[in-house]
């Protein structure tokens, strides 16, 4: 089955300044994406921007695909202007998602900024696991109170996140990794019974990875890299791992946290 398809825009809603929730209705049957997988979206038919943009699956709602994105440059800016009924071309689902199916462990989710896009997808999927579902703890960091996204949706699936903001307008002031660090020491968690899944900006993932290694906490992180093909052919999207360069679009975007060389 070819993963190339067209989809019509059902809704493209501005949640807060520069942050949008895009709902797409695929025009053909597609493969069901796993949390952590992504799609390449073509934002325009013209030659500039030329390449498709990678976005993580945020949510599946009755056959529709939802993406949560921030406007950062020309491609996401064009995307933000899409109206209901516009047609986009996509490839996906791509890459490997979070491996969570067999886990017996207590789960720690960590999301920084737009990292909540795939982390919410994972949280929602975990919430659907029939009991005894693994307990889930979510640490969510953002720059400001406004940018703490998905709070209501998280509540509706029974998750009450531990929050931090850079300016202290909501939750603790500071970065979310130091909040997690305090939590780990205060509660002296039996780390071998816990597993971590995270997504966020690179500095956050980097400090999270040294924390995880220090506490011998196992887990997985979703990474970003500039992409051309999204299919594994151009070798443009590699990250450095202890086993050499690996493609974010193919072996990733989710990698075991201890494998990444920062």
């Amino acid at each position: 089955m070819s993963r190339l398809f067209k989809a019509s825009v059902s809704e493209n809603k501005e949640l807060i300044k520069n942050h949008y929730l895009l709902t797409l209705n695929p025009l053909k049957k597609i493969k069901k994406p796993e949390p952590g997988q992504f799609f390449m979206l073509s934002v325009d038919k013209g030659l500039d921007p030329l390449l498709k943009r990678p976005l993580s699956i945020h949510r599946l709602t009755g056959g529709n695909l939802q993406f949560l994105y921030r406007v950062v440059g020309s491609g996401t800016n064009i995307l933000s202007e899409k109206k209901t009924g516009d047609i986009l071309e996509l490839i996906g689902p791509l890459g490997k998602g979070f491996p969570f199916k067999k886990t017996q462990k207590n789960i720690i989710l960590v999301a920084g900024g737009l990292g909540i896009a795939p982390i919410f997808a994972l949280a929602e999927t975990l919430a659907k696991i029939p009991p005894p579902a693994p307990p889930v703890l979510l640490f969510q960091g953002a720059r400001t109170e406004d940018e703490v996204l998905c709070i209501d949706k998280l509540k509706s699936i029974g998750i009450d996140p531990i929050i931090s903001t850079d300016n202290g307008t909501l939750g603790e002031k500071g970065n979310i990794v130091s909040v997690l660090k305090k939590y780990l020491t205060r509660h002296s968690l039996p780390v071998n019974r816990y597993i971590l899944y995270a997504c966020g900006p690179e500095p956050m993932l980097k400090s999270l990875s040294s924390l995880a290694i220090k506490h011998k906490l196992k887990g997985y992180i979703a990474l970003e890299q500039h992409m051309a093909c999204g299919l594994g052919t151009c070798l443009g999207c590699v990250v450095n791992t202890i086993d050499g360069y690996k493609r974010v679009c193919k072996e990733g975007p989710v990698f075991p946290i201890e494998k990444i060389v920062w």
Binding site: M1, S2, R3, L4, S42, L47, D48, P49, L50, L51, K52, E89, I91, Q225, H226, M227, A228, C229, G230, L231, G232, T233, C234, L235, G236, C237, V238, V239, N240, G244, Y245
Partner: protein, 308 residues
Amino acid sequence: MANKKTADLKVNLGKLKLKNPVMTASGTFGYGDEYSEFIDINKLGAVVVKGLSLKPKEGNPPPRIAETPAGMLNAIGLQNIGIDSFIKKKLPFLRQFKTPVIVNFFGDSIAEYVKTAKKLNAIKGIHALEMNISCPNKQAGWSIFGTDPKVTFKVVSEVRKMTDLTLIVKLSPNVTDIALMARVAEDAGADAVSLINTLTGMAIDIKTKRPKLANITGGLSGPAVKPVAVRMVWECYKSLSIPVIGMGGIISAADAIEFILAGASAVAVGTGNFINPEATVNIIKGIKSFMLSEGIKSIKDLRGSVKC
């Protein structure tokens, strides 16, 4: 009497016969497996695989890609799985198709080029060799293979001795006189030349003041390079008697036809595969319908027919 309209797309490159002139450009189609989900590989004129070397290569540190207006810079650094892995793990997949497999390869010395060609020559299921003497992302010094006519002559003629397969020499556009380099390749025994490889370029992030690529410079490809590529194909066509394979920014049938009018016997689609994984087959269809609507019976009648 029904006069059924036909369009003959067949072309020859040396001994190699192609059912149509559309191939994939090296490095943009992997080893074919990832694209078989999107297109029927049997429909392609030829598959050109990612550049291979004797031993696997790690390539350059990331970031390796930067998008630019209507194009992209890449500095992959010829990362590849090496010839042995290719033969064992990738070639069996490609062998099942009725499409010729062209192996793109490179070496770090003349001796390595020769050894690689010799090894590839003996492998069943490889129909032609494309020697890359023109990657802009290798260490300083490497570029002489594609920019110093004496070295070009030497390396091509040494490789020529090692193989009776169709030998294509992939030329660098980063030279003053492309036709001269093409003639050197022809004189050294090439059966065809292919061009253009990427143009050396650079992009800078104005906030961090850093180059966008870890390698600092990279190779520019995509629609932005097309006019340069068409001009170079035309210059080579005029001064060669061997076929020219044209590439650089082809994303539509119209682009491909432009190259053929400039003198290309065949064309390759590179960055176009990233924009649309079905690009190659769409281009084949488009060339055919152009020929039918223009009443052109054979693609050979189009070749080089630009009216200057």
